[in-house]
């Protein structure tokens, strides 16, 4: 009774507030904001063609969105498409009655077709903005829409989610863009294991993930216990567009060969296994055993025990082979290899010819669900090869290399993506001994799949637009205790600075942060840590003094991250070729650093830096701020005196294990954790500057 009264009071109050102070006669034109055509106008004008979808829009109370200001991308199915959808969802005889859908399902159906650019600080997308893969902003049910451009298609004939064709594109309205499609898009609501099992092309893998129990490991969707903190850390300087991740979803990615490919596959290992193609999971196990036998015979520490017949044991050959095809992060193909910041990717960069030699690569690594293994991936999503697609033409389309079958990839579901491979991928002797026997430079976020799955990571320049605090316990490989007032971690999206991939992972205060990194193949490595020097002197630096431990061993005395690289303790010098070629602009890049005419390419300085356990940053990537701010077109991270590598020491690993790198503050301050490098010691003498 009371509650009724309350409601009445509130309503009365609100109605008085509005009506009592305005003359109702004045309302008239004051609602007219737009002078052009809105999406709603467009739909009304073509009501006969889209009446079914309009009906659903209205029924789901989404029509006002189409009338309001915004930057919507609307995929509107034709009436034919809607009727086909009703039939598909019917009982086989009669079509589904849309009026029987509950409000939640109606909204899901409608909102799957709408991307709200305005709310996401983004735009409405025409097909000219599309790139193969996902549209960068999620739709209104939080899913990415995957677009694919078939060969020989006309310019706007993109395929949406592999379900629909755009039949009329780029209807630009004042509140967004309309694309007419010939099929309803609804995404897949399976979990990844079920998607694999029901897809039809992956019967062997469907059976294999059941036999190995890997399917059971991929049944989660979201950590419901996660509650995003609402209050930012006290005293944080980062408050603009900053918040904690809103959710903590689980995600996996499957990189699979279809049955047809497996059935006809023959290589040295099928021969060794005595099989003709991989036609069953028994064949697959025999194939895997041949691979691992070869590795073990050659001294590999791959964690596979051929005596284990229990397929659910992760040391079992089949289990390991299959698990190698799964990443513990939901990764679309367009985010599989990050190219942001690499010098080869910018037309304005003047020194491409100089830097992009046979050793220059865009190369990254993904840990998999198979213990002790990594996948190497290079530009154009080329997987596990010593060849260099940045140097060697034609690799992107060559069937000699492993890559995705684009039209069969980016199959999304509730907890991951399914991509199809064109060749059989395995963690074998070649991968371990040759592909991975090189400088493994890994951004620290490599080991934080939760950030990838939950879209904490942003791959394009969002300078000052994207800050995400990372709560304690959010990432299983990031161990730290957020502590008031100032110990916290925050991720900055890709931006204009000279950081690998352009993004930043920062900790502040008296932090004690441990990253679990790897796995790294057994061997002897020099290990390095890439970081940023804040400020121009100890006295004005935001950074602190940090004791670094690798696997519990202190790496020398604490590193003073405040230290200006130009001071004698570090002794950074600008490469003279930059000065010689670009004059004052070259000097400017590194705060008037010294240089030596006798050392034009900085080799002498590289050596002396190494003596003090430092290295310059690589020359393979660039911060766009020099280009934007100073009009310079040639400086790379190597030319920035604020970006350094610190050599942690030489370590021998007897197994393909994960490792702990721990940063403990001796003096509170800010630390930027960029990347870690593992270089086999036998390669140091021949190492390039990339």
């Amino acid at each position: 009774m009371k509650h009724t009264l309350i409601t009445v009071l509130i309503c009365l109050g609100l109605s008085f507030l509005v009506t009592s102070c305005f003359d109702s006669d004045d309302v008239g034109d004051s609602y007219t904001t737009f002078t052009g055509q809105k999406i709603a106008d467009f739909l009304n004008e073509h009501r006969s063609e889209y009446s079914e979808f309009i009906y659903v829009l209205e029924k789901a109370n989404a029509w006002p969105l189409m009338e309001s200001y915004g930057k919507y991308t609307l995929f509107v199915p034709t009436n034919e498409a809607m009727h086909a959808y009703y039939l598909e969802k019917g009982d086989g005889v009669n079509p589904m009655d849309i009026d029987t859908l509950n409000a939640k399902d109606l909204r899901k159906l409608v909102f799957y077709h709408i991307i709200d650019g305005e709310t996401n600080s983004d735009k409405a997308y025409t097909t000219f903005d599309f790139e193969e893969g996902a549209i960068p902003t999620k739709n209104m049910v939080g899913r990415y829409i995957i677009v694919h451009f078939p060969e020989n298609a006309v310019s706007t004939a993109w395929i949406i989610n592999d379900e629909a064709n755009i039949v009329e594109a780029n209807g630009e309205m004042i509140n967004g863009v309309v694309h007419v499609i010939d099929h309803v898009i609804e995404g897949n609501n399976d979990l990844l294991p079920n998607l694999i099992k029901t897809n039809g092309e992956y019967g062997i893998y469907g059976e294999a993930i059941a036999a190995t129990g890997l399917d059971k490991k991929m049944m989660l969707i979201e950590d419901e216990t996660y509650v995003a903190p609402t209050t930012l850390p006290d005293g944080s300087v980062v408050t603009t567009r900053a918040h904690y991740p809103e959710e903590k979803k689980y995600g996996w990615t499957a990189l699979l060969e279809p049955d047809e490919l497996l059935n006809n596959w023959n290589d040295e290992y099928t021969q060794a296994a005595g099989i003709n193609g991989i036609k069953s999971i028994d064949d697959m196990e025999a194939y895997a055993r041949a691979i691992y036998q070869d590795m073990i015979d050659n001294g590999s520490a791959v964690p596979v025990d051929l005596s284990i017949t229990d397929r659910k044991n992760e040391k079992n050959a089949l289990n390991h082979f299959v698990a190698y095809h799964f990443l513990q992060a939901a990764v679309r193909t367009d985010n599989f290899v990050t190219t942001y910041g690499y010098v080869s990717e910018y037309d304005w960069f003047e020194r491409k010819a100089e830097i992009c030699d046979e050793n220059y690569r865009i190369e990254q690594y993904w840990p998999t669900m198979a213990p002790g293994s990594l996948i190497q991936c290079q530009k154009h999503n080329i997987i596990n090869t010593i060849d260099n697609p940045c140097w060697q033409a034609g690799m992107a389309n060559s069937q000699d290399y492993i890559h995705f079958v684009v039209s069969k990839s980016n199959k999304d579901c509730q907890n991951g993506y399914l991509h199809q491979l064109n060749r059989v991928m395995a963690y074998n002797k070649y991968v371990e001994n040759e592909v991975l026997h090189r400088r493994l430079r890994m951004e620290l976020r490599t080991f934080l799949p939760e950030l990838v799955t939950n879209d904490v990571v942003a791959y394009t320049n969002k300078y000052n637009q994207w800050h995400r605090y990372i709560p304690t316990g959010y990432c299983k490989n990031l161990i730290f205790e957020e502590q008031r007032p100032s110990i916290y971690m925050v991720y900055y999206a890709a931006n204009v600075h000279h950081y690998l991939y352009g993004d930043e992972l920062n900790a502040t205060g008296f932090f004690d942060v441990t990253f679990r990194v790897g796995p790294i193949p057994a061997g002897k490595y020099e290990v390095r840590f890439g970081y940023h020097v804040y400020g121009t002197a100890r006295s004005n630096s935001e950074a602190g003094v940090t004791q670094i431990y690798f696997d519990g061993t202190p790496c020398g005395i604490p590193l003073d991250m405040r230290a200006n690289a130009l001071e004698g303790d570090i002794g950074w010098q600008q490469d003279y070729n930059i000065i010689e070629t670009y004059g004052a602009a070259g000097v400017q890049l590194a705060r008037n650093a010294t240089y030596s005419e006798d050392d034009p390419y900085g080799y002498e300085n590289d050596k002396s830096l190494r003596n003090r356990n430092f290295m310059k940053a690589p020359d393979s990537y660039v911060g766009t701020n020099w280009h934007n701010d100073y009009g310079t077109y040639f400086g790379t991270a190597r030319n920035s005196s604020q970006d350094l590598r610190y050599i942690l020491g030489t370590f021998s690993f007897t197994g393909n294990d994960e490792h702990n790198i721990r940063f403990v503050q001796m003096l509170a301050g800010k630390g930027l954790f960029d990347y870690i490098e593992f270089i086999p010691t036998d390669l140091i003498n021949d190492e390039d500057q990339h």
Binding site: I6, S20, T230, D234, S486, E604, M666, N685
Partner: protein, 842 residues
């Protein structure tokens, strides 16, 4: 239910606001919902068990407000709570045994401190206006509602209060607003406070489902009246002391308080129109948000806490966030050892952790120097209550970054103050810096110069040395031996300042380091250097000393030579497995070790002098052996090598326009330590004879072949090519890392020379043996021959001229006479190669 009530207020508010534009206000006015209670005052009166509180309202002049107007939030207590209070020891001590005996100031405090502006439910009280979590809030309490008048007996006893010995003083315990501390369910949930935490905070039985104001439970909340909300407490509504006040008044903490009293002083808050002075009590502290670093006389505080434990409006950060004022989301925490714990720590028992301090200062806390006392006290302060609750004890860090050694069973009591929580603990938490190699320096009052030099205002070495998992051998020099330091920078000065001697001393007034500068030859004083600060001239010298007196890593009994943190070579003198003396390359004789302490991260050894680096540059040493090429040389063993270096222009004076070498330096060396293998004159001759290098005269007198002419080469270009061959030969004789006879053993250790292999852009290696008596070198040419199964040879260094130490110093001015500090440097150890030998890279 709560939400609906919130809506009432919103709804009513909106209704009133909206209708004010209409003529229906009167109509609405008398239509109150029947379920709205009476006004605040009437409610309390009608209950019948709130007579004292009603009286309080009347006595403080809030009758009208509580009865008719305003929108109020009031925390109140029924009569039974007042009765309990009147019987309490605290009230009896103060004479507050009945309501009539409460002074007016006390009444104001009791009422206003529990009044909050606007009508707010507990749920709404848990949020800031911006939606953030609101843990602490200010009240309507006026700062000057109550101003204690204290006599000397009640004042902290220290030099600052001694001035008021004979007077009474109006002394605010702090001049910032008081805050309420709200342990409300939504707050506790947001701050991740657990049931276990509440047990320690509010006592057994407390839980996060209940609602507490400080440690008082709210037994009935959200009582709705026409003009506000009431929340009923289970005890009298009294805002507790701040942390400092509690520690001062708690008998069990008197030892800790006695030490804390040293670090406070009265600061004038304001002078009334009657000329009366009101002071506030401030603690010296180094916080960012509310620092107090100098005393009333302008001197640096005798010691500083991390923050002022008396600051009511405590906040650690310098500003709030977009959702909070900084004080609203958190408060401080102090872990205060009981008197028993302090006595157990500071004891004659040799096993007591504070025994060394006890011994050093005659067993009296009063003798413990201020700095040590401040270090000890502040180590018990933590900036955040939220992060120091018992559920965080496993990962808690102290404010120096060390793991905090506290467990739940160390907590013997707690007190929620208005600006923080005080945990009473049964152990002392000593600053862990004292367990490191810095410990003896911090305790020993004979090492004040070194102690200051390590600190923030000078060299900031503490941040290296506090790494407890590293190993250091730290050589320290007591104040009395911080003399006769040959200033390396002064080698570039002129006149009486050249090669001056520094006698360091402490300025006790400013607590800074000074140096009396003397002329080396006459011993006469030529000035006092007082230039401190992290970029000051004295700091440059002190850093140099610390760098050469700090060895990183283990030392091996019997091994003589080591490279220090600053790359300087130092020699240790052993007696069995004990280091009895140390010697820098510039010391004429070893400096005795006069005391030694084993600490968690290494050893601290006292030296009765300062280690000196070599006063000679490589240029200088080459010239000493350059025969006719240099005046004053003692022999000509390096003549050919020196001549080549000179001819090739390898010595430079000004590496940049802003710095200069003292005399000259080899241009390609940087801040590191090197070995220089000098081929004797016959060795150079052999290299020329073998066609490895041209002679100087060959270069000077060269001519072009017909092919060279045809290729367009001119004579100067040819000379330059030949000169480069010579330079590459010279550079190959200089390697990274000082190989010292008697230093670290090497067995074909691979090092890089200074000659670049232009095919690979890598530097040619050198392979070295060192066994304590000799250095033997396998050059790259012979290394490659060996790999190919060909004959090869290794080259020994001369037994006559070896282990010669040099230091090339670059100072921070283009004119060495104007330099104030060291810019960079390199150390070298120089060995003459055996007769007729040279090193070959290809």
């Amino acid at each position: 239910m709560k939400i609906h009530r919130l809506y009432i207020v919103i709804g009513l508010g909106l209704t009133l606001f909206a209708t004010s534009c209409t003529d229906r206000f009167e109509e609405e006015e008398n239509n109150e919902p029947a379920w709205l209670g009476p006004n605040v005052y009437d409610y309390l009166e009608q209950r019948g068990d709130c007579r004292y509180f009603c009286q309080l309202i009347r006595d403080c002049g809030y009758y009208e407000s509580m009865k008719r107007t305003g929108s109020n939030t009031l925390f109140f207590s029924p009569d039974s709570c007042f009765e309990t209070f009147f019987r309490s020891a605290d009230a009896v001590n103060k004479g507050y045994t009945s309501y009539d005996k409460l002074p007016q100031s006390m009444k104001y405090m009791m009422l206003r401190s529990c009044m909050v502006e606007n009508a707010q439910l507990i749920e709404r009280l848990s949020k800031t206006d911006h939606g953030g979590t609101l843990f602490r809030r200010t009240t309507m309490m006026e700062l000057e509602d109550t101003i204690p008048v204290v006599t000397y007996a009640d004042m902290p006893h220290n030099i600052y209060f001694d001035r008021y010995k004979d007077d009474e003083m109006k002394l605010l315990m702090d001049a910032s607003p008081w805050t309420l501390v709200q342990f409300f369910p939504d707050v506790m949930s947001a701050l991740k406070i657990t049931d276990k935490d509440m047990k320690y905070i509010c006592g057994d039985g407390a839980s996060i489902d209940r609602t507490y104001l400080f440690q008082s439970r709210i037994v009935r909340q959200d009582i709705t009246c026409k003009n506000g909300y009431l929340h009923e407490l289970d005890r009298i509504c009294m805002v507790p002391d701040n942390m400092a006040g509690y520690i001062r008044n708690e008998n069990r903490l008197s030892t800790f308080n006695h030490l804390m009293d040293r670090f406070c002083e009265p600061v004038l808050y304001r002078t009334t129109v009657d000329g009366e002075r009101i002071y506030e009590l401030r603690y010296f502290n180094e916080s960012v948000s509310h620092p107090h670093r100098t005393d009333i006389d302008g001197r640096i505080a005798p010691g500083m806490l991390y923050f002022d434990p008396g600051w009511n409006l405590y906040q650690y950060g310098s500003s709030g966030t977009n959702s909070n004022n900084a004080y609203e989301g958190d408060m401080a925490a102090m872990f205060v050892p009981t008197n028993e714990a302090m006595a157990e720590y500071f004891s004659a028992d040799p096993n007591a952790e504070g025994h060394d301090i006890y011994e050093s200062f005659g067993g009296s806390w009063d003798n413990v120097p201020d700095q040590i006392a401040a270090d000890l006290l502040k180590n018990h302060q933590l900036s955040s209550f939220v992060n120091s609750t018992p559920s965080h004890f496993g990962t808690l860090k102290d404010m120096a970054g060390y793991d905090m050694e506290i467990k739940e069973d160390n907590i013997v009591g707690s007190y929620v103050a208005r600006n923080g929580i005080v945990y009473l603990i049964n152990k002392v938490l000593p600053p862990l810096d004292y367990r490191s190699v810095m410990g003896p320096v911090k305790v020993d009052q004979g090492l004040k110069i070194f102690n200051l030099a390590m600190g923030d205002n000078y060299c900031q070495f503490q941040y290296y040395l506090r790494s407890l998992k590293s190993t250091f051998n730290f050589f320290v020099t007591p104040d009395e031996y911080m003399k006769d330091y040959l200033d390396p920078i002064s080698a570039g000065y002129s006149g009486v300042r050249m090669n001056s001697i520094y006698d360091f001393r402490l300025n006790t007034n400013t607590n800074t380091i000074e140096a009396v500068v003397r002329n080396a030859a006459t011993g006469d004083s030529i000035g006092i250097n007082t230039s401190g600060g992290i970029s000051g001239a004295l700091t440059s010298r002190l850093t140099d000393i610390l760098n050469q007196q700090t060895l990183v890593g283990e030392i091996i009994p019997g091994q003589e030579w080591y490279i220090t943190k600053g790359y300087a070579p130092i020699r240790l003198v052993w007696a069995g497995d004990k280091v009895v003396a140390a010697q820098g390359a510039g010391n004429a004789s070893p400096i005795d070790v006069i005391d030694e302490y084993d600490k968690t991260n290494g050893a601290t050894r006292y030296l009765n002098g300062i280690l000196r680096t070599s006063p000679y540059s490589m240029y200088n040493i080459l010239r000493q052996h350059a025969g006719a090429s240099a005046s004053g040389s003692v022999d000509d063993k390096f003549k050919a090598f020196y001549d080549m270096c000179e001819y090739c222009g390898l010595f430079e004076k000004n590496p940049t326009t802003t710095c200069a070498a003292i005399d000259y330096r080899l241009s390609f060396l940087s801040q590191y330590h090197y070995s220089v293998y000098i081929p004797g004159n016959d060795g150079v001759e052999a290299a020329i004879g073998d066609g490895i290098i041209p002679s100087i005269s060959d270069i000077e007198n060269c001519s072009l072949t017909s092919e060279e002419e045809a290729a367009g080469l001119d004579l100067e270009e040819k000379r330059e090519m030949l000169r480069q061959r010579m330079i590459r030969f010279i550079r190959y004789h200089i390697q990274d890392y000082s190989i010292i006879i008697g230093g670290q053993n090497e067995n074909e250790g691979q090092f890089l020379s200074s000659t670049l292999n232009t095919a690979t852009n890598k530097f040619y290696p050198i392979y070295v043996d060192q066994d304590g008596s000799n250095v033997r070198i396998l050059d790259n040419y012979n290394y490659q021959r060996r790999r190919q199964g060909l004959s090869f040879e290794k080259v020994d260094v001369s037994s006559e001229l070896n282990n010669i130490m040099a230091r090339d110093l670059i100072v921070n001015s283009a004119a060495t006479t104007a330099a104030t500090g060291i810019e960079t440097y390199s150390y070298s150890v120089i060995h003459l190669l055996e007769d007729g030998k040279y090193l070959r890279f290809e």
